[in-house]
């Protein structure tokens, strides 16, 4: 929701287009020195905050620093940055300590927290604190008076916004607003939302339940559209600090135990909306490859899993699997996973709790029987897992890293190599090596990939396909 809100109100220096390439957005001219260590950016003309003042580099520099304090990929970028400096009101530079081929991709990424530009006043707020005013320079203004926190968010067309001239593509291109107002309504009950959409009380429903799809598809006034082709990827984190998954063989046994489609079928029903994916990188993304995927292409192999469990010395201890019961797809996946693990010979202790309890419990490094855990289930946008550096969960830097705390020196070296690579071909080759190694040491597993269609009234058209956010520019109601 915060990303959706941000994309309405704020603008970005660069945006990822429909081909996953970074394109300038608030930036006009830009370029790098011959040694690619100094990048110079010039803000384009006509950029104004919603309070009427001009956007200057005095705003941009602290905005970049605020974003870098919270975004994992930006932190990697900042390790290579020597200085970010304003040269004049419209020009700023990023000086690198070493070449960084992903600079523009990082600035353009739509992964959260996104690199939104805000006024100096707000940008200088402690990055871990909420800002007290929402004043952006994006295509919509935030209507505070009519917004009710947690219930209704109102955005009005920013009449002074100057869109780029290019057609919209991804979150790049011209953000031309064609409606006067957009109202986000937080509707907790899917049945009510479906009824409201059918009755024409709302125009758009972000997550129509797949099990109600048949009912909805019979309505000629509704259209279903997948706005994010990469969809969502389901991830299973295993705890590398505690037995039995501190043992590589036992983790490998999981690869042969899990049958991804079975974990998704109870929720997504129709294979049209979900599929398995054996790649370490999101299927459909440029880094997807087939290195070391025999465990996947061969299908579930419980005999092999048992063999690996034996080699790894699995002693029958209970596997504590955290189940977020208030998120249906996670809860269903955990139930099926528990059964698959039992079929392979694991003893499983399924621990039902709500998601907020999972996010607390997963921080524990204690043994599973003393408040710790062995496996939890989560998910991320397809773009998050489409490369090895955007998402914090793609690292294997041990206890400094994300929950599960995998450690693998080669993985970290390869990530570093990938980040420093300068061409797509080079990156693809390194991605194969990363995957080859990853499916040996098994930092985590996936339980498939799904695309969630949105539902909208037939008379609302012009939806731009973007991962992670729902853009309302270019949308018109006829």
């Amino acid at each position: 929701m915060s990303a959706y809100h941000g994309a309405m109100v704020y603008d970005t220096l660069f945006g990822i287009d429909g081909e996953e390439a970074p394109q300038p957005q608030m930036v006009g001219k830009y370029g790098a020195s011959d040694d690619k260590l100094t990048w110079t950016f010039e803000l384009r003309d006509g950029l104004r905050w919603h309070d009427g003042t001009a956007v200057t580099t005095a705003d941009v520099v602290p905005s970049l620093k605020r974003w870098a304090a919270r975004n994992g990929a930006a932190q990697l970028m900042m390790q290579r940055v020597q200085a970010i400096e304003a040269k004049d009101d419209k020009t700023f530079t990023i000086v690198l300590k070493e070449r960084f081929g992903l600079l523009l991709d990082t600035l353009a990424s739509s992964d959260t927290p996104t690199c939104f530009m805000m006024r100096k006043r707000e940008a200088e707020t402690d990055p871990m604190q909420k800002i007290d005013q929402v004043v952006g320079s994006g295509p919509f203004t935030f209507n505070v008076a009519e917004t009710k926190a947690g219930s209704q968010y109102v955005y009005d067309k920013n009449a002074t916004y100057v869109p780029r001239g290019e057609p919209p593509s991804g979150i790049a291109g011209g953000k031309v607003v064609k409606v006067d107002r957009v109202i986000y309504q937080n509707m907790p009950d899917s049945q009510t939302a479906v009824a409201a959409l059918q009755a024409g009380e709302i125009d758009f429903y972000e997550i129509p339940p797949i099990d109600l799809m048949a009912q909805l598809q019979s309505d000629p006034n509704l259209v279903f559209e997948v706005l994010s082709e990469l969809g969502t990827v389901g991830m299973m984190r295993v705890n590398h600090l505690q037995p039995p998954f501190d043992n590589q063989k036992v983790r490998q046994a999981l690869l042969y135990t899990v049958k991804q489609e079975d974990m998704l079928r109870p929720t997504f029903v129709d294979p049209k909306w979900f599929h398995g994916c054996g790649s370490f990188f999101t299927c459909g993304s440029p880094m997807e490859n087939d290195a070391n995927m025999a465990w996947y292409t061969g299908g579930q192999n419980l005999a092999k899993a048992r063999e690996l469990m034996k080699e790894g010395g699995y002693d029958g201890r209970p596997i504590v699997l955290l189940q977020a019961t208030n998120i249906p797809y996670m809860s269903n996946a955990a139930t099926v996973l528990a059964q698959q693990l039992r079929s392979a010979g694991f003893t499983v202790q399924l621990e039902p709790m709500d998601w907020s309890n999972v996010v607390q419990r997963r921080t524990s490094k204690a043994p599973p029987d003393k408040g710790g855990w062995n496996i939890f289930i989560t998910s991320g946008g397809g773009s998050s897992y489409s490369n090895p550096y955007i998402d914090i969960g793609m690292a294997a830097n041990g206890e400094k890293g994300w929950y599960g705390w995998p450690t693998n020196e080669l993985h970290e070296q390869l990530r570093e190599k990938w980040i420093n690579a300068e061409t797509l071909a080079e990156r693809k080759a390194i991605a194969r090596q990363i995957q080859d190694n990853a499916w040996n040491f098994v930092p985590h597993l996936y339980y498939g990939q799904w695309t969630q269609p949105v539902a909208h009234r037939k008379n609302v058209t012009g939806w731009v396909h973007v991962p992670e956010i729902i853009p309302f520019w270019n949308v018109q109601k006829g």
């Binding site: 009710k148 009950d189 009824a195 907020s356 607390q360 991320g380």
Partner: protein
């Protein structure tokens, strides 16, 4: 009388104190980390720890309790961890829909239930009595959300008479305000109607069996004045008690009804807050709901003195 009211108001203080301790302890002993929820997925444990420290969640529970109670005593319900807004202002934003829903539900329920209860008592043992009591049992047994979905399906989707969801403030007109409240009030009022109708019938039957009622009948007093002027007046105290006790039922039902009909009220606010472990909102709303419940019961107690002169004397 004023002395009684003051004494009763003072007696609320220990009750509210117990509520405060229970709510705080239950929330803080239950697992869940608001900081991790606020931070989102792609955030390092260090950043979550920083957020936790900023929210004061790294402090001992007893200190957090004292800080909260200190604020409470000055009338400050604290700030939402998630939104940053004051809990008082958030409750203020959401109060109108909830008060409107509660008001229309009580109005519909009390008038309908008393009418049905009196009718069932007057026709005791007949088919009418059985139908009314059958309706009451059904109203009490069918969950609010089932009634809600059925009403939406019939009256909003099929007949298109009323809107599916939402709330229109009364400032935009009484008619649109009522249009949005009809279905939720019926859904929420069903159990309330059942409860009041049953107690009205039972009490009325007791009163109708009294000697003075037989005398009134023998003297030729017509049925309607006998039921409403004599019998109902004498049956009013137990009915008022049930109406007051039913407020707890109403508060529980409001939470579900607001979710089903997408009404942005206090019930929705607290449900969302529970999912996010937004302690100040949960604590604030429960304190307000508890205060309302205790106050309503005080008003019911005071109403006895008006309904029954013997108690006043």
């Amino acid at each position: 009388m004023i002395g009684t009211i003051v004494r009763r108001l003072l007696s609320m203080l220990p009750v509210m104190g117990v509520v405060a301790v229970c709510v705080f302890l239950l929330l803080h002993l239950a697992p869940g980390d608001p900081a991790a929820i606020i931070a989102g997925e792609n955030v390092s444990p260090e950043n979550i720890a920083r957020i936790r420290a900023q929210l004061g969640l790294d402090q001992p529970v007893w200190r957090q309790f004292l800080v909260w109670v200190g604020s409470l005593l000055t009338g400050d319900l604290g700030q939402s961890m998630f939104w940053g807004d004051s809990v008082t202002s958030l409750i203020g934003q959401r109060a109108e829909p909830t008060i409107s829903l509660a008001f229309t539900t009580v109005m519909v329920a009390v008038f309908l239930a008393i009418g049905l209860g009196v009718l069932a008592a007057a026709c005791a043992g007949t088919l009418v009595d059985r139908l009314v009591m059958g309706f009451a049992v059904m109203g009490f047994s069918v969950p609010v959300f089932v009634v809600g979905y059925l009403l939406i399906f019939v009256f909003a989707i099929n007949l298109k008479w009323l809107p599916v969801q939402g709330y229109t403030p009364i400032s935009e007109g009484v008619a649109p305000w009522l249009r949005n409240l009809v279905l939720p009030s019926i859904a929420l009022g069903m159990a309330y109607v059942a409860l009041i109708a049953r107690i009205t019938r039972t009490t009325m039957l007791d009163v109708l069996a009294e000697d003075y009622m037989r005398t009134a009948k023998a003297k030729g007093v017509a049925m309607r004045p006998m039921l409403f002027r004599h019998a109902l007046k004498n049956a009013a105290v137990p009915i008022a008690t049930v109406v007051g006790n039913g407020v707890a039922l109403l508060i529980g039902g409001v939470v579900i009804t607001e979710t089903v009909f997408n009404i942005p009220g206090v019930g929705r606010l607290v449900v969302d807050a529970i999912a996010r472990r937004d302690y100040p909102i949960i604590q604030g709303v429960i304190m307000v709901f508890s205060g309302v419940y205790v106050l309503v019961n005080l008003l019911v107690d005071l109403s006895y003195t008006f309904l029954d002169p013997r108690i006043r004397d």
